[in-house]
């Protein structure tokens, strides 16, 4: 089981990038709502090499209600990653299953390892 970070590292209502690859690019976006943490692969479905944020840990639109792709402005629902407007309309972010154990965010067993 892979520990991603501490639960407290993810601000409630906010988002952070996690699991940097060898080039230092965060491969995972974590979003916390209370005790629930959702994870998505940090890549817009529009291109194969399109990280979502514009700055370290900056992934949300102005009022924090959607994930925004800082490449072309696509907006994704936080709860299921579905794109509501933008170049990847009708597609969705790839969800990564997580579990919380002892105050830590972990990749759920069987979650694909990210490269």
């Amino acid at each position: 089981m892979i520990v991603v970070c501490r639960l407290d590292d993810v601000p409630d209502g906010g988002a952070i990038g996690a699991l940097p690859n060898a080039r230092g690019r965060d491969t995972l976006v974590l979003l916390r709502r209370g005790d629930q943490v959702l994870g998505y692969v940090n890549n817009c479905p529009h291109y194969d090499r399109a990280p979502l944020g514009w700055r370290k840990d900056e992934f949300l639109n102005g009022d924090g209600t959607r994930i925004m792709c800082a490449a072309h402005g696509a907006l994704f629902r936080i709860e299921d990653g579905v794109c509501e407007v933008g170049p990847c309309l009708g597609q969705a972010l790839t969800a990564v299953a997580l579990t919380i154990r002892d105050g830590h965010v972990c990749l759920a067993d069987g979650s694909a390892l990210l490269s």
Binding site: W54, A70, H72, G73
Partner: protein
């Protein structure tokens, strides 16, 4: 039609503080509230999404509300007004700026340019066989260089019908095609600018219509690398580059931005005149760039192997 190039890009955003931070860190100078200028005064303008002064948004994800083109003189404005009034409403604002819409539905405006003439040095290099670019004892690697964007270079739109869109700029506004990616789109140059392109477009489904990227010219490749490295150091997300394009020959480095568009540094673009014969090739990885690098953390070789020192 003596059109020079994009003078101002006006955005309506819901995250204005993040956009301000980005544009300042990118190197533009805030000369009036939410007006961020390059050295020649070409500018990015930020407004809140609901600002009543903004033209209506497109129904897509783009935050670009208006592209303002700079022209040489009042006579050009009158010629544009006469031409476009034939089949669409052209409003003349109190400032004298013309406001209308292009054939893809983008809001466009025209004004006597806000650009000031720059008188600045190019990047200077030493090259065997050529006379020295720098005097003796003059240092080339200056980490403290300001590296400010000099001028708004070009914009790239996603458009649902590239031929219709290109024909509007060619037939109605006098742009010429310098080069073309088959089935993707043409690179366009207006009559009062010799840069390889100020406008490029990419054919997409209609729900993608919007601004793909904007770019400012830097002094040269060294300042491009310096400015881009500073962005990376501040935590900004590099998207593509640094590298060098084939068409246009410009060095490039693209970043994601909170305006929901890519923002590019470019440097050393080709210049053309009426003698140029356009090239055409299918868009591909090979065609898009001569070479591509990726920024990595600083490192240096040297010294004894670990544990032997």
């Amino acid at each position: 039609m003596r059109i020079i190039g994009p003078d101002e890009l006006i955005f309506g955003v819901d995250n204005i503080q993040a956009c301000r931070d980005f544009l300042k860190d990118y190197g533009l100078i805030e000369t009036a509230p939410d007006c961020f200028e390059a050295l020649d005064r070409t500018a990015i303008i930020l407004r809140e999404t609901g600002d009543a002064s903004l033209p209506p948004p497109l129904p897509t994800a783009t935050r670009l509300r208006e592209t303002v083109w700079g022209v040489e003189d009042q006579a050009t404005l009158e010629a544009i007004s006469g031409e476009l009034s034939r089949d669409r409403e052209v409003r003349t604002e109190a400032s004298g700026r013309l406001s209308t819409v292009d054939d893809a539905g983008f809001r466009i405006a025209f004004q006597v340019t806000r650009r000031i003439k720059l008188d600045l040095a190019a990047e200077r290099i030493n090259s065997p066989g050529a006379s020295p670019g720098r005097a003796a004892n003059e240092i080339g690697a200056n980490e403290d260089a300001e590296a400010r964007p000099r001028t708004l270079s070009h914009i790239v739109y996603f458009v649902p019908d590239m031929d219709r869109m290109a024909n509007f700029y060619i037939q109605r506004l006098g742009f010429v095609i310098t080069d073309k990616f088959t089935n993707t789109g043409p690179f366009l140059r207006p009559q009062a600018n010799d840069d390889h392109h100020v406008l490029f477009m990419i054919q997409t489904p209609d729900y993608m219509q919007g601004l793909e990227h904007l770019a400012f010219h830097m002094q040269g490749p060294t300042e491009l690398m310096l400015a881009g490295s500073r962005m990376v150091k501040k935590g900004y997300q590099s998207f593509w580059g640094p590298g060098r394009h084939k068409f246009g020959s410009n060095w490039f480095w693209y970043f994601n931005s909170p305006m929901g568009t890519h923002v590019e540094y470019d440097a050393d673009m080709d210049k053309h005149d009426g003698d140029w014969v356009m090239r055409e090739t299918p868009m591909s990885k090979e065609a898009a760039q001569m070479f591509l690098f990726e920024n990595v953390a600083k490192w240096a070789p040297g010294g004894p192997p670990p544990g032997k020192g």
